[in-house]
C-alpha cells in the first residue's frame, strides 16, 4: 500500500519548522558565545523549563480536546502558595500555619494537585454543563483563582509576605539531584512520558483527539463528550497544581504573583509545538520543543547580554510564524 514519497523540501520545512527554529537559535547563540554549548547550560535550561513543561502538558490536553484554558497561570500561583504554606519547616520564622509540623514533601504536592483538580472540575462543569464558551469560562475562573490566591496570601499572620522557610525535603524537589540529574527535570520528563502514554496508547487519549477533531462526530460515535471534557480539565488542573508546587520548590518561596502569564506561554508553546488551535492535533514532543524554544530564547538572550525586551519581540515573532504555518498545514489540505 505504501508509495515511495519524493522528498519535498517545502513540506519538510513546514513539518519540522519548530525543530529547525530551535536549531537555528542554538547555532546563532553559540556563534556569539561558544560557552553556550555546554552540559551545565543544557541542564539549566531543562531545569528552568521543567515547570513550564508541566504547565504546557496540562494545557495540551485542553487544546487537543478543542477547548481553551486561561486559568493555568493563576492556578500555578494558587497551588504554589498552597504547597509552600504546607511545606514550611516547623521553625520557619513566619509560619503560615502556626503549629503545623514539618510534613513529608509529598503532602504539599498532593494537596496542591488536588486543589488543581478541583478547579479543573469546576472549569469542566462550567464549560460542558453551563455551556459557557471555554475562553470566557476560564477567563472567569482565572480571576476567581487569583482572588482566592490573594485572600490566602493575605491571611494573618502571613499578611501578603512572600512565603519562605521551606523544608529541605520539599526544596530538593526543585533544586536537588539524583545521579547528577535534577529531580525537577526527572519529574517533568516523567509527566511527559505519562502524558505521551495516555495520549497515544490508551483509549482515553484516542477519544480526546476525536473530541477535539470533531466533537459532533465523536458524539455520534458513542464517545461521552462530557466525560472527556471533565477528564481533560481535571488532568490539566492536576498538572497546574504540580507545576505550582514545583515552582515554589524551585524558588524556595511563593507569592500570589507566581504563575502570572504562564497560561499564555503554555498556549504559545503548544501552538508553536504544532498543536492546532482548532483542536485534535498535537504531540508531546512538539510541545516539549515549543517550551524549550521559549526558554532557549529567554535564557540564551540573557546569556549573550541582550535586553529582555528583545526576548519578547523574538517570542512574538515566533508565535506569529508558528500560527501562520499551522494555518498553512491544515488549511491547504481542505
Amino acid at each position: 500500500m505504501t508509495t515511495k514519497k519524493k522528498f519535498n523540501g517545502k513540506q519538510f520545512l513546514v513539518d519540522y519548522a519548530i525543530y529547525l527554529i530551535l536549531l537555528a537559535l542554538v547555532v546563532i547563540i553559540t556563534v556569539i558565545s561558544p560557552k553556550f554549548l555546554s552540559f551545565s547550560v543544557f541542564k539549566d535550561i531543562l531545569m528552568q523549563s521543567s515547570v513550564r513543561i508541566v504547565v504546557a502538558m496540562g494545557c495540551m490536553f485542553i487544546i487537543i480536546s478543542g477547548s481553551a484554558d486561561l486559568s493555568g497561570g493563576r492556578m500555578v500561583g494558587l497551588s504554589s502558595l498552597i504547597a509552600a504554606s504546607l511545606a514550611q519547616q516547623a521553625t520557619a520564622s513566619l509560619k503560615f500555619w502556626p503549629g503545623l509540623p514539618e510534613l513529608p514533601a509529598i503532602v504539599p504536592v498532593l494537596v496542591s494537585m488536588a486543589v488543581g483538580v478541583c478547579f479543573g472540575v469546576f472549569n469542566g462543569l462550567v464549560v460542558s454543563k453551563l455551556k459557557v464558551p471555554a475562553f470566557l469560562a476560564t477567563l472567569g475562573s482565572q480571576m476567581m483563582i487569583f482572588g482566592f490566591s490573594s485572600l490566602y496570601f493575605n491571611k494573618a499572620p502571613n499578611n501578603s509576605q512572600p512565603l519562605g522557610g521551606l523544608a529541605k525535603g520539599f526544596r530538593d524537589l526543585g533544586g536537588g539531584s539524583i545521579a547528577g540529574i535534577p529531580i525537577i527535570v526527572i519529574i517533568a520528563l516523567t509527566v511527559m512520558l505519562l502524558v505521551w502514554v495516555m495520549l497515544t496508547k490508551t483509549c482515553l487519549g484516542k477519544e480526546i483527539f476525536a473530541v477535539g477533531g470533531n466533537l459532533e462526530a465523536a458524539r455520534v460515535s458513542g464517545i461521552n463528550v462530557f466525560k472527556i471534557q471533565m477528564i481533560t480539565y481535571s488532568i490539566a488542573g492536576a498538572c497546574y497544581g504540580l507545576a505550582g508546587a514545583l515552582e515554589s520548590a524551585r524558588t524556595s518561596s511563593a507569592t500570589s504573583a507566581y504563575g502570572q502569564g504562564y497560561e499564555l506561554d503554555a498556549i504559545a508553546s503548544c501552538i508553536v509545538g504544532g498543536c492546532s488551535v482548532a483542536g485534535g492535533v498535537g504531540t508531546v514532543g512538539g510541545v516539549f520543543a515549543g517550551v524549550i524554544i521559549f526558554n532557549v530564547i529567554s535564557y540564551g538572550l540573557t546569556f549573550i547580554g541582550i535586553s529582555p525586551y528583545w526576548q519578547n519581540v523574538v517570542k512574538g515573532l515566533i508565535i506569529i510564524g508558528a500560527v501562520a504555518l499551522d494555518v498553512r498545514k491544515y488549511a491547504s489540505k481542505k
Binding site: C203, G222, G280, K333
Partner: protein, 517 residues
C-alpha cells in the same frame, strides 16, 4: 402574450461544478405581474438556476436579460440594483437591530454635516412607513427585528426587496416555516405585488400552493428543463409525472429479500421539538432494507437521530427485539446494536486530521474497549491495525496508508471509512442518512452492495434518501414523511415515483395516508 411583458429571460444557462453538471442549457422566461413557479426534485437544479439569476453564481454559458437588456451580475448587490431580489429559505436578519435598519442596511439615508455622515432617522422612518403602507404591512418600523415572528421577518424581507425597486422577486420555499394563516398573509402580499407589475419566481414543493398562487409553472429535472406550462393546464399528478419522469436502470446490485421477524418497533414517537416530527410509528424487520423518503424539511434526519439518542424525544416507545428500550445518548444506541451514518459527512462524520485507522476503529474502540485492551490499560496496536485493514480491504478503501489523514481521501473513500467504522461495531440495525450523497458512482455501488450483504445476514437497514431511483431500487419498503408526519409506507417493488412524490408533498392525516404494512 407579447414580448414586452417579459421581465426576466434566462437562455440556455449551463453551470458545472467539479464532477457535476448542475445546469444544462436551462431557459426560463418570467413575465411582468405574474407568479412563476419553479419545480423539481431535490437536486434538480432549481437553487443553482436561481443563484445564477441572483448573481451568487456566474453561469458558464447562456444569457440573462432583464427587460430585454443583457446583464452580467457581479454579485447579489449588483443583481438587486438591477431589479432582481431573492428571499432565501433561511432568513438571516440582524436580530439586534430594528426593522427599518434591516431594510436600509448598507444604504442608510444620511445628512452630511461637516465631515460626518449623520444617519437621518426621520427619513428612514418615513420611507419605511410609506413602503409598508403601500404593501399593507402592519409592522412598526422601530420594532426590534428579534421580536418579530418568522412570517413578519419574511414580510420585512419582501419590503426590503421592493425598496430596491425589484422587478423580479425570487422566493425560495417561502412557506416552509409559516402557519396557514401566515401563508394567507403572504399570498395577499404576493397578489398585491403582482398587481403592481412585480414578477415573482416561486420555488416550492407544495403542489396545492403552487396551483393556487402561480400563473405559470416551469419544471426541471436533473439539471435540465422539462418544460413550462400555464398553471391552469396542470394537475398535481401531471406535475409529479413531469418532475420524476425517468426510467430505472441497473445501478443496483441484485438481491433477494428475506424479510424476517420484527426487530425495531417504534410507536407514536414524538420529538421534544414541537416543530419536528410527531407521532411516528413503524416496524423494521430483520433482513429488511427500509427506505425513508421525503422532501427537505420532512424531519427524516431528526427522526433517525432521535431514535439514535442524539436528539431528545417527548413521547413514544422504542422496542428492540420485543423489549422496550430507553436510548438517551448514542452510547446507549450503540450498546443496543445500532449504528448511524450521519448525513453531514464533514460536520458529524469524519475527524479530518486523524488517520484512517483512528477513524475506522473510533466507535468500536469506545464501545468495546476490552477488545483492544484485553482489560489492561494500553490499546493493542495490532488489533487496531488488523481491524482497520479488514475494512480497507473489504470496502476497497483507497488510501496510501492506514496512517494517512482521512481529510486527504476522496469523498467516496471517506464515506467508506465511516461505513467501516460502523460495520466494526457489528450492528444489528444500520441507519444510513443520505449515504450516497456527493460520491461517485463506483463508491455508490459498493455501498449498495454492503447494504445488500447486511440484509442478507439478517440485519436491519434504514436508508434515508432523497434520490428516487435509490429508494426504489434498494428498499423492501419505502416510508415517506412529510413535514414531520409519516404520510405513508409503500412496497418497494411496486412503488412508483409518482406515489412517493405525492406522499412526500402532501400529508393528509394518518387515516388517509395509504399505509401499506
Amino acid at each position: 402574450m407579447d414580448n414586452s411583458s417579459i421581465v426576466l429571460e434566462m437562455t440556455d444557462i449551463s453551470k458545472s461544478f467539479p464532477g457535476v453538471k448542475a445546469l444544462d442549457k436551462v431557459s426560463l422566461t418570467v413575465r411582468r405581474g405574474t407568479v412563476h413557479a419553479l419545480m423539481g426534485e431535490n437536486g434538480a437544479g432549481k437553487s443553482t438556476l436561481m443563484k445564477c439569476a441572483f448573481g451568487l453564481y456566474h453561469p458558464d454559458e447562456g444569457e440573462i436579460r432583464i427587460e430585454g437588456e443583457t446583464v452580467r451580475f457581479q454579485d447579489a448587490r449588483d443583481a438587486m440594483d438591477k431589479g432582481v431580489s431573492m428571499i432565501h429559505q433561511e432568513l438571516h436578519p440582524i436580530r439586534t437591530r430594528n426593522v427599518m435598519e434591516n431594510i436600509w442596511v448598507g444604504r442608510v439615508p444620511y445628512k452630511k454635516i461637516g465631515p460626518v455622515h449623520w444617519v437621518d432617522e426621520k427619513k428612514m422612518y418615513e420611507d419605511t412607513r410609506a413602503l409598508f403602507e403601500d404593501l399593507e404591512i402592519h409592522i412598526d418600523p422601530r420594532q426590534s427585528m428579534g421580536e418579530l415572528a418568522a412570517a413578519h421577518c419574511q414580510l420585512v424581507e419582501i419590503a426590503r426587496a421592493v425598496s430596491y425597486g425589484a422587478k423580479v422577486i425570487i422566493m425560495d420555499e417561502p412557506t416552509s416555516s409559516l402557519t396557514e394563516g401566515e401563508v394567507e398573509l403572504l399570498f395577499r402580499i404576493i397578489r398585491k405585488l403582482t398587481a403592481q407589475g412585480v414578477a415573482i419566481i416561486y420555488i416550492s414543493h407544495k403542489m396545492d400552493e403552487i396551483l393556487q398562487i402561480s400563473n405559470e409553472v416551469t419544471i426541471m429535472r436533473d439539471g435540465q428543463l422539462v418544460g413550462c406550462w400555464p398553471a391552469e393546464e396542470l394537475t398535481q399528478d401531471l406535475i409529479v409525472a413531469r418532475m420524476v419522469g425517468r426510467k430505472m436502470d441497473n445501478r443496483f446490485p441484485p438481491r433477494e429479500s428475506h424479510v424476517g421477524e420484527p426487530w425495531l418497533e417504534v410507536e407514536h414517537l414524538t420529538s421534544a421539538n414541537p416543530h419536528s416530527f410527531q407521532d411516528i410509528s413503524f416496524t423494521l424487520h430483520k433482513g429488511e432494507i427500509l427506505g425513508l423518503g421525503g422532501l427537505v424539511g420532512a424531519q427524516r434526519t431528526e427522526l433517525m437521530e432521535s431514535i439514535f439518542g442524539l436528539r431528545p424525544v417527548a413521547s413514544g416507545t422504542v422496542r428492540i427485539g420485543g423489549k422496550p428500550v430507553k436510548i438517551k445518548c448514542p452510547q446507549d444506541a450503540i450498546q443496543l446494536g445500532m449504528a448511524l451514518l450521519t448525513e453531514e459527512r464533514r460536520a458529524s462524520g469524519i475527524i479530518p486530521m486523524l488517520s484512517v485507522q483512528d477513524n475506522v476503529v473510533l466507535a468500536n474502540q469506545t464501545a468495546h474497549t476490552r477488545q483492544y485492551t484485553g482489560g489492561r490499560l494500553f490499546l493493542s496496536e495490532k488489533k487496531r491495525r488488523d481491524d482497520a485493514q479488514q475494512y480497507i480491504d473489504s470496502l476497497s478503501i483507497k488510501t496510501p496508508t492506514q496512517k494517512t489523514q482521512i481529510q486527504n481521501l476522496s469523498g467516496g473513500n471517506q464515506q467508506k471509512v465511516l461505513l467501516g467504522r460502523w460495520m466494526l461495531t457489528e450492528p444489528e440495525i444500520l441507519i444510513l442518512d443520505e449515504p450516497t450523497r456527493g460520491i461517485d458512482v463506483g463508491a455508490k455501488y459498493e455501498i449498495y452492495t454492503l447494504m445488500t450483504q447486511m440484509a442478507a445476514e439478517g440485519k436491519c437497514v434504514i436508508m434515508i434518501s432523497s434520490e428516487m431511483p435509490e429508494l426504489m431500487g434498494m428498499s423492501d419498503r419505502i416510508m415517506v414523511m412529510c413535514e414531520g408526519h409519516l404520510s405513508g409506507i409503500l412496497d418497494g417493488k411496486t412503488a412508483t415515483d409518482e406515489q412517493i412524490m405525492m406522499l412526500a408533498s402532501t400529508y393528509q392525516g394518518a387515516a388517509e395516508g395509504g399505509v401499506v404494512q
